[in-house]
Amino acid sequence: MFHMRGVTLENIMDLMKMLKESGIDEMRLQTDTLKIHLSKSGPKDSASESIEPAEELLPVKAAMLGFFEGVPAGGHTLFPLIGRYVKEGDELCAIRVLDRLHVMKADFSGWIRRIVPSEGELVEYRQTLFLVEPAGDVPGGTT
């Protein structure tokens, strides 16, 4: 039997079943040595659950000063929301400088864990916009 400090594989399977039947998209469970992250969304080519050592969130910083636009004009949410998995090169948000929108793209793949500025807020150069849990190796670090 797979056993690790009181957490069994059966326990995890149960958790997955609970998540599937619930209205929530993801859940996390963390002990001293184990971190379980279950999500209904995520990369298609991998399992929807991950068992990995505790990792730090990496910041995605503003490449310029401007107004933060997570939801571009028109109101449709094109950009990722919390929990969404983004691949390197995916569009993250836009920064508006006067009338021009500059789209910011992800430098690495991972899960968006936090969106720091509020919609329309002025962000400074190099201000943290997102906290991202990286998936695998992070090529070239953050923006």
Binding site: M64, L65, G66, F67, R96, V97, L98, R100, L122, E124, Y125, R126, Q127
Partner: protein
């Protein structure tokens, strides 16, 4: 038509940013310092009510970006922008963009900046109102045209950039055979500096002084002058020491120059603080219009010290739609003021920039001493910007007293960690030709540098390689 100025975005750095922040504070106006990444911990960033990082250290991606500056002003709730000097101060796009977005620009209108920025246009405008300009040409399209123009004007001549200022794209040509090479050099330099390689020719005046008149104009058509400054102590067309009043002009000449400056500013419905620069021919005792600077100048404190008028405060009041706060006949001058620009440079090595960390910073204090500076012990002088550390301004009852006072103040000014121009300024203050007021714009390069370097070699027993 008053316009509210309650919160100002300071779109500059260094001592002038601090100067503007303090002037605003005195007027009860809030400030936002727009800073590059290199200036995040600077004194202006700390003294302003808020600091906002506009971009990386490189000016082309921070202090020179009109769109970013205006966005920063809008996003921080500012209703006005002060450009200081340098950077965007004379770029008409800044006032234009401010106006589009409902912000007050603390400076003249875009149109005035554009007209005065084109040196040939400015020459024509001034000549048309009967004020002498240095004999010269229109644009010269190639070196042959330049040769013909130089022949008419008479050698030596000065090749100058039409878009220019600050000595860039400027070449003295003494002989016809040198003109071709100089023409291409000047044109290339002008293109690199201003994105505009057009040049023209002016007669070169060898024994010249640089004398400029401070003016203020308001929305009600009033223009006043605040007398002149003498900025003849220059190296490579960069001012080093300025003073007011000029020791070279008589009362009659002063009056004529000031009247000419007011006429020029009046003709343009000038708004805010500006400076009309003249070249004074010491041989002929004639003055000629050189150019007009449509901003606050580095050397404005010498005028403030002899008139008691706060020029930055006046700039802000005028931008807010208020009239100039006094009449011409109320502008009085008293005493004499001298300013030395203290740069982080090594005078012994061709004024090589000397960035680094300032480990000791002890400016002089006392009556008649003013130090405009953003420096402190522990401050790191960044390599990305001009090397001005401080302006030491000293007043005295008369010129002799001011010079003596300046010499003492320089001797008490302690700076460690970076090299400064303090020893060079002391050397100048000790010279009889400076004390007697007998010098011209090429005096530093023709005479002083040689003597200074010789003394340095003697003192150190070193031969320069």
């Amino acid at each position: 038509m008053n316009r509210t100025v309650s919160k100002v975005l300071v779109a500059n750095r260094g001592e002038i940013a601090l100067r503007i922040i303090r002037a605003c504070r005195d007027l009860g106006i809030a400030t936002v310092a727009a800073v590059s990444e290199a200036d995040r911990d600077s004194l202006p960033a700390r003294e302003a009510d808020r600091a906002i990082c506009i971009g990386p250290a490189r000016p082309s991606r921070s202090y020179l970006r009109v769109d970013t500056i205006v966005t920063a002003a809008l996003g921080t709730g500012c209703d006005a922008v002060h450009p200081g000097y340098g950077f965007l101060a004379e770029q008409p796009e800044l006032p234009e963009t401010c106006e589009t977005h409902g912000l007050v620009f603390i400076g003249p209108q875009a149109d005035t900046i554009r007209r005065m920025g084109d040196k040939l246009h400015a020459r024509k405008l001034v000549r048309d109102i009967g004020i002498p300009v240095i004999p010269g040409s229109e644009l010269v399209r190639d070196y042959r045209a330049a040769q013909r123009a130089a022949g008419r004007v008479g050698y030596p001549v000065l090749l100058k950039a039409a878009a220019g200022g600050g000595g860039k794209g400027m070449k003295i040509v003494r002989r016809r055979e040198d003109l071709k090479a100089s023409f291409y050099e000047a044109s290339a330099e002008a293109l690199a500096a201003f994105g505009d390689g057009r040049v023209y020719i002016e007669h070169y005046i060898p024994d010249a002084r640089h004398i400029e008149v401070q003016v203020l104009g308001d929305r009600f058509g009033k223009v006043v002058h605040l007398f002149e400054r003498d900025c003849s102590v220059q190296r490579r067309y960069q001012k080093m020491i300025e003073e007011a009043p000029s020791p070279a002009v008589t009362e009659e000449l002063r009056e004529r120059m000031c009247r000419a400056a007011v006429l020029i500013a009046g003709k343009m419905n000038y708004l805010g603080a500006g400076t009309v620069e003249f070249i004074f021919d010491q041989q002929e005792q004639n003055f000629y219009f050189l150019e007009m600077n449509t901003r606050i100048q580095v050397e404005h404190p010498v005028t403030e010290m002899i008139t008691g008028i706060d020029l930055v405060r006046e700039q802000i009041r005028i931008a807010a739609g208020l009239p100039v706060g006094f009449q011409q006949n109320e502008v009085k001058r008293s005493g004499h003021a001298v300013e030395c620009r203290i740069n982080a440079e090594l005078p012994d090595d061709d004024f090589m920039p000397s960035p680094g960390i300032i480990t000791r910073w002890e400016p002089p204090e006392g009556d008649g001493i003013r130090v405009d500076s953003h420096c402190y012990a522990g401050y790191e002088v960044p390599p990305y910007y001009d090397s001005l550390l401080a302006k030491l301004i000293v007043t005295g009852e008369d010129r002799d007293a001011a010079i003596q006072h300046m010499h003492r103040a320089l001797s008490r000014f302690v700076v460690s960690g970076v090299h400064t121009t303090i020893p060079f300024h002391r050397f100048v203050m000790e010279r009889d030709d400076y004390r007697s007021g007998r010098f011209n714009t090429s005096w530093i390069e023709d005479t002083v540098l040689d003597h200074y370097n010789r003394r340095w070699r003697e003192a150190t027993g070193t031969e320069f390689v």
